[in-house]
Symmetry: C2
Subunit: 196 residues, 2 copies
Amino acid sequence: MPSGPALDAETILTATEDVLRRHGPAKATVLDVARALGVSHASVYRHFPSKAALREAVARRWLGRARDPLAAVASDTRQAPAERLRTWLTTLFAAKRALLSEDPELFATYRVLTAEHSSAAADHVADLIEHLRVIIADGVTSGDFASPDPTATARTVFDATVAYHHPAHAPEWQTPGAETALEAICTLLIEGLRPR
Amino acid sequence: MPSGPALDAETILTATEDVLRRHGPAKATVLDVARALGVSHASVYRHFPSKAALREAVARRWLGRARDPLAAVASDTRQAPAERLRTWLTTLFAAKRALLSEDPELFATYRVLTAEHSSAAADHVADLIEHLRVIIADGVTSGDFASPDPTATARTVFDATVAYHHPAHAPEWQTPGAETALEAICTLLIEGLRPR
């Protein structure tokens, strides 16, 4: 098996994503990835020391992709903070729901990582809370929101919408009324953030 | 085996609770219950047509017991609606956490029933939302809260605190800061409910 200079980490991650899509997180092996690339499994291990490390790196890459549109919403100062907060929360829900329905095996991988408290999942959550902090801090600056500690408030908002982003609640995401229910939470939280 | 007139449904439910505590929801059988009572399994089936029906009846009984202190909080008009709402939500969390640590096998049974969308679990949630509705409606009457639809608002409040009552989040309940995090959600929701 040739393992020429073409085999870089990105190539391996793309192949792993395909293998995870086909076999799911429980059955996919490093050998499957090596076979898909036509290389020895030693060539894969040279880049990623274990199956866990490889799965973590794949998750880190596609969680990053999933965050891009959310980062764009968080920094879009053309939208007033209250509406930006609502847009961000509904965009996150739409993205999670789309991943679940369009890419169920990758969603299952994400679910495993969440349950295992992986650093990829923890870093992802930290990045999402930072988005919320930016929106809330902008609202405090503009006088739209009151918050003594935007980071703490960001955590509280994330926590209060857990039913719409935590994978444990995925079975409820396709029920009629899920979007309306999230909108109602957004309205109550935004009201709660307004200064008096 | 004698199956005298002493064998009533309550006696069977108490024995089933003990069997569930000892064996857990996966391993407990109707035969275990019959053995514990010294009766034939036919005697048990005379009251409960299946293992599922028996498990459901047990859950219904202890969910009812768990609701009693919450019903007392919901109707305690000596507490102003805002503080009553906070007390109710923190009492629910304390009760769930106590069940998890003191009665893990019964908690596991509850978890199974929730995942199976049993009518006992659904009725329990409906009763809890009715408690919240009473508190919110009292707040609207007293001018402490604004809500065009107290039942819908009750659902939203229940939904926004799901991390502190849904069994899927049980692994996070013993983490330091869980109580403080729930208090922060309560504060934000109560602020959101105040009229302007």
